[in-house]
């Protein structure tokens, strides 16, 4: 991380921070322009971003970010500013109460939640087969009945037909009746 400058212009507080990934060969700089806009409005911020982008060379110019806050833009719609595609990507603190990390959560600086990794077994596991197997182990179904039930339950049978199929598989004598 390089903090290139902290300053004040037309009453606005400014900071320029440049970052790049540590330990990665070829990682380029990303430039963050931070501005607390006091009075002069969004125009100054945009001119600053344009001048910075002109000063950067490609591909670094594609990694330019403008983070804004302060009462100077309080009357503007943050969605509109963030949807402005000129010069760089923009992030706006919604209110003065927004903690800085809430704004950063929308950027590449966001802290990612700890991901629980699974091997996909749960996704593939067939709950229907497992449930039928439980019934077999409890002595309610045998192997053949298990297969019959699975086919019947995943087929599109009418209500009475389905019930008859399941019942007869358990009680073969019912078929004769």
């Amino acid at each position: 991380v390089r903090v290139l400058g902290l300053g004040r212009s037309e009453g606005n507080e400014l900071a320029v921070v440049r970052l790049r990934r540590a330990g990665r060969p070829g990682a380029g700089w990303r430039t963050l322009l931070l501005m607390r806009v006091r009075a002069s409005g969004y125009g100054d911020a945009l001119r600053w971003a344009a001048a910075t982008r002109d000063a950067l060379t490609e591909p670094e110019a594609s990694d330019l970010y403008l983070l804004l806050g302060g009462e100077g833009i309080a009357d503007q719609d943050p969605e509109v500013i963030e949807g402005d595609e000129y010069f760089c990507r923009k992030m706006v603190a919604r209110t003065e109460d927004d903690p800085p990390d809430l704004v950063l959560e929308g950027t590449f600086l966001a802290r990612e939640p700890e991901a629980t990794k699974a091997d996909g077994t749960a996704v593939l596991a067939d709950p229907l087969a497992m449930a039928l197997e439980t019934l077999r182990q409890d002595g309610l179904l045998n192997e053949a009945q298990k297969q019959t039930w699975r086919e019947a339950l995943t087929a599109t049978l009418a209500r009475a037909e389905l019930a008859q199929e399941l019942h007869e598989s358990l009680h073969p004598t019912a078929r004769a009746e």
Partner: protein, 997 residues
């Protein structure tokens, strides 16, 4: 071990030509497919799906559309390092797979990866089986989850189970009814057999019973007897009515005999009453005689008492008159005493009132003198204060004149600058007028230049459009020409490619000069316009500066006028002009000095103000003290006067009350003493009172004795009446006697003897009728038994059949109940397994999903989307909801296309990161930014870059937007991420992959 895709080779798939290869990064990185719509981007993703799963979900079972027109087979090869997966499709046939994707990418021995591929790798644009599907016209994010076995099969099975459980419940209910009917039939059979046998047993006997009609006639005859008390025997002549009639007559007879027995007992008890009656009758007669004598004696006592009471009343009246006379005389004596005291008090009060009047007059004189002295002192004080005030006012006026004289030099100096300021204002106004004139001239020129530029631009555009049209027309003609001929079939002109290209170039070149000239004219006109516009801006700036100067000069003059006006308004100057001011101030100064001297002369000989104040304070104190003394004296006088008036009123009242003929106090005293002595010595009242009391006590004793005697007589009469009543209760008449009692007992015994024969007849009739009733029952039971039996079936076989039916019903019901229990157990088990899926798959991915959403979508309402599973029309549904105004709403109802796509992408990445089942970490994204502008697409690019760099994903990304593609490429390049842009180029031989320059 992680593996990556090195290349994709497609042959004759859709519009792709034979053997065209898509070079891929072969490791973490991104390949960006850039092509306009309809050039085959989606086909690339279909091809990968085909090679991995042998099917393309969005196409369904018919894969023929994948085969290029005019070709018999399409083929896809995926090269992972040194291994390859292939799939080929022939017309009307299923895909033929080479290699096992499950074993290559998943675990050894695994077969299919279909569902998991769509869950963690592939995000297509639309169609069945993708993340975004059309469900009856509504796009649903996350629908893919519904296709997983954990959701799909369980949901289908749960719906089917519910149907089966309802049907089975109906079956159980039906079987319960069947079993119940069989049990009832068996029970009825047993009951009828038992009833028939019992009736046959009861019929057994030696004699033949009489016919029911004969028995009925016997009953009718019995019913006429007195003991039957008019009992009605019906006309129905069957056996059962006869039994009922016999029972009824039997009950009547028993009742009659009980009543006879009861009367005999009561007659026995009545015998003892005959002696009791004689004794009580004598006692009552003796008490009546004694009461009559006592009543005569009482009459004598009443007469004596009334005579004594008359004499006592006369004596009391006389004594009361004497006492009233004495009381009146005592009152008059008291009033005469009070009158004398009041007259003496009046004389004393009149003397005191005279003294108070003299004291008041003295006090009034003293208070008047003090008040006069105080008024004189106050007049002197007002005169001295007035002179002092006038002197202070004059001193202040002289100071104001002096202050005004000090203002004059500054005023004079400001007025001296006025001519210069007026001149500056006039010059500035003149300069502004000139600048306005210049600005108008320059604006006119700029307007005319704008017109020229517009005309030139229109001319240039027209020429450019014409050139484009011509180029397109020539190109279209060239495309239409056949490849296997060298002359035009219409005009027979040679057109080999070199000749045609040359002719086209010549045609285009002939257009170029005019276009170049028009372009140069447009550039020149635009340059002139720019110069003119700059001049207008400069002139406007100059004019604005001059206007500001005019405004400053006007403001300076206004300030001068304002300050001079303030000086002129000073009071001593009183609005005069600057040149009149000195003379006016001198004149005012002289007048003030003259008035001041007059005031000081008048003050000579007068005491100072402090001395006057002290004198006035002393005089005011004295005057107030004397005033208070006067007020006190007046109050004393008024008090005495009021008391005197009260005494005089009291004397007048007493005099009027006593009247004119009132005796003297001494005479009145003598008469009073004499009357009191006379009253005390009067005889008779006490003695008479004693006589009355003696008579009263004797009469009371007589009354008491008479009352006791009357009560004893009444008791004796009551006892006598009770004895007679007890005698008459069993129906005896007259007074108690032995003869009447014997006659009644004889009659009772005679009646009892008459009922014994009737009782025997009733019992006989009932017994015979009962035998007829059993015969009827036996017949009826046999009829029912015959009904329950089947034709040709004897009783033994029928009983066996009914028992077998009941047993079978019980068994079938038990079987159906066991099936119901098994269905319920399976439903519970499935619900449990379904919950496990939530815990194992969705719950782990949810935090990451929310983190991704915070990065991709800034609107906070999308940051906490939640899963929502349901079944609609027996189809499993999986959707997402978000909170809006405190309620949960489906995402599909409120999200835009762009937001929906981002939610899907976030979900894909979250599941890909948490479910690492595959050895190929890949994100295959078909145009995920098609609905995003560049600002929002940038968020997607940042997220994808981090997945590549931090988690080793290989990304295949398609887009039709070259700006998106290049921007994404630059971002990746900035972080050193391997990346290539590949375009899809349509050629005569089919679409080919080409690396972008």
């Amino acid at each position: 071990v992680t593996t990556y895709l090195n290349a994709l080779i497609v042959s004759n798939v859709r519009r792709f030509c034979s053997e065209t290869a898509l070079p891929l990064t072969g490791g973490p990185g991104a390949t960006i497919l850039l092509a306009p719509n309809g050039h085959g981007k989606t086909t690339v993703f279909d091809a990968i799906e085909l090679a991995l799963t042998g099917a393309v979900r969005r196409l369904g079972p018919d894969l023929d559309p994948l085969i290029r027109d005019g070709q018999a087979q399409a083929r896809v090869d995926l090269i992972f390092g040194e291994r390859m997966l292939s799939a080929s499709v022939g017309k009307g046939r299923a895909a033929v797979m080479e290699g096992n994707a499950g074993a290559l990418l998943g675990r050894p021995g695994e077969k299919g990866i279909d569902d998991r591929l769509r869950l963690t790798h592939l995000m297509t644009q639309s169609g069945a089986g993708s993340w975004l599907v059309e469900l009856e016209g509504e796009a649903e994010a996350g629908q893919m989850v519904a296709a997983l076995p954990a959701v799909r099969d369980v949901a289908v099975a749960q719906v089917a189970l519910e149907k089966a459980r309802k049907a089975q419940t109906a079956r159980v209910n039906t079987l319960e009814e069947v079993a119940q009917r069989a049990e009832q039939a068996l029970e009825r059979w047993n009951g009828r057999i038992r009833a028939r046998d019992e009736a046959l047993d009861a019929l057994a006997g030696d004699t033949q019973p009489r016919e029911p009609t004969e028995l009925h006639a016997g009953l009718v005859a019995l019913a006429t007897a007195p003991w039957a008390a008019g009992a009605g025997i019906g006309t129905e002549q069957g056996a059962e009515p006869v039994v009922a009639g016999a029972d009824m007559l039997g009950r009547r007879l028993v009742s009659y005999r009980e009543s006879i027995e009861k009367r005999l007992n009561r007659l026995g008890a009545a015998a003892a009453l005959i002696d009791v009656y004689a004794e009580r009758s004598a006692d009552a007669q003796e008490k009546r005689s004694r009461a009559s004598g006592l009543r005569a004696k009482r009459s004598e006592l009443v007469t004596a008492k009334e005579a004594a009471e008359l004499r006592l009343a006369k004596a009391i009246e006389d004594a009361s008159a004497a006492a009233r006379s004495i009381a009146e005389m005592r009152s008059k004596r008291d009033q005469l005493g009070e009158l004398a005291s009041a007259r003496q008090a009046v004389q004393e009060k009149e003397r005191a009132l005279d003294g108070a009047l003299a004291a008041t007059q003295e006090a009034e004189k003293a208070a008047g003198a003090a008040l006069t002295a105080l008024r004189e002192a106050e007049a002197s004080h007002r005169l001295v204060a007035s002179l002092a005030s006038k002197e202070r006012s004059l001193a202040m006026a002289r100071k104001a004149v002096d202050d005004a004289a000090k203002v004059l030099p500054a005023w004079r100096a400001r007025e001296a600058t006025r001519p210069d300021r007026v001149a500056v204002l006039a010059q500035a106004k003149l300069a502004v007028a000139r600048a306005d004139n210049d600005l108008d001239v320059l604006r006119g020129r700029a307007a005319s230049l704008e017109t020229v530029v517009a005309k030139t631009r229109a001319e240039y555009a027209r020429l450019a459009d014409s050139c484009d049209e011509l180029r397109k027309a020539v190109s279209a003609v060239a495309e239409l020409l056949p490849h296997d001929a060298s002359t035009c079939p219409v005009c027979h002109t040679g057109f080999d490619s070199g000749v045609l290209r040359r002719r086209i170039d010549e045609a285009l070149a002939s257009m170029t000069p005019g276009l170049a000239t028009a372009g140069a004219s447009l550039a020149a006109a635009e340059e002139d316009l720019t110069v003119a516009t700059d001049r207008v801006s400069d002139a406007k700036a100059v004019r604005d500066e001059l206007a500001i100067k005019v405004q400053a000069a006007v403001s300076a003059l206004a300030r001068l006028d304002e300050e001079s006006g303030r000086d002129r308004a000073v009071p001593p100057l009183n609005g005069c002009e600057l040149d009149e001011a000195p003379a006016r101030l001198a004149e005012r100064h002289a007048i003030i000095d003259q008035q001041l001297a007059a005031v000081r002369k008048e003050k000579v000989g007068l005491p100072d103000e402090a001395t006057l104040n002290a004198e006035m304070e002393a005089l005011r104190t004295t005057s107030e003290a004397r005033e208070r003394a006067l007020m006190s004296s007046r109050a004393q006088h008024r008090h005495l006067d009021a008391e005197l008036n009260q005494l005089r009123a009291r004397i007048a009242g007493l005099t009027e009350s006593l009247g004119a003929d009132t005796p003297t106090l001494a005479g009145l005293e003598q008469v009073l003493v004499a009357r009191e002595q006379a009253l005390n010595t009067a005889p008779g009242v006490t003695a008479i009172q004693t006589e009355v009391e003696v008579a009263t006590r004797a009469l009371a004793a007589c009354d008491l004795h008479l009352t006791d005697l009357e009560e004893a007589r009444a008791d004796a009469d009551d006892r006598l009446r009770a004895t007679i009543d007890a005698w008459r209760e069993p129906g005896l008449a007259g007074e108690p006697s032995s003869a009447a009692l014997s006659t009644a007992e004889f009659e009772c015994r005679r009646q009892a003897a008459e009922t014994e024969a009737a009782e025997r007849e009733i019992l006989s009739i009932r017994d015979e009728a009962t035998r007829w009733v059993h015969a009827e029952r036996s017949k009826r039971a046999q009829i029912e038994v015959d009904e329950l039996s089947r034709p040709g079936e004897d009783e033994e076989r029928a009983a066996s059949r009914l028992m077998a039916d009941a047993e079978r019903g019980r068994l079938r019901l038990a079987d159906a109940r066991r099936t119901s229990e098994t269905l319920q157990k399976l439903a519970d088990e499935l619900k449990s397994r379904r919950n496990e899926f939530d815990k194992a798959v969705l719950a782990p991915a949810t935090p990451l999903l929310h983190g991704m959403l915070r990065r991709l979508v800034r609107d906070r309402r999308w940051h906490d989307v939640e899963w929502d599973f349901s079944t609609r029309r027996n189809r499993p549904q999986a959707g997402m909801t978000t909170a809006v105004h405190g309620d949960r709403h489906p995402v599909r109802k409120i999200a835009s296309e762009a937001q929906t796509t981002k939610i899907q992408l976030a979900l894909l990445i979250a599941l890909a990161r948490t479910q690492r089942w595959s050895r190929w970490p890949a994100l295959l994204l078909d145009d995920p930014t098609q609905h995003q502008d560049l600002a929002h697409a940038a968020a997607v690019f940042d997220v994808l870059r981090d997945q590549i760099v931090d988690h080793g994903f290989q990304v295949l990304f398609s887009t039709h937007d070259s700006v998106h593609a290049e921007f994404f490429e630059r971002k990746l390049r900035n972080d050193g991420v391997p990346c290539n842009i590949v375009t899809l180029v349509p050629t005569r031989a089919g679409v080919r992959f080409e690396a972008a320059s």
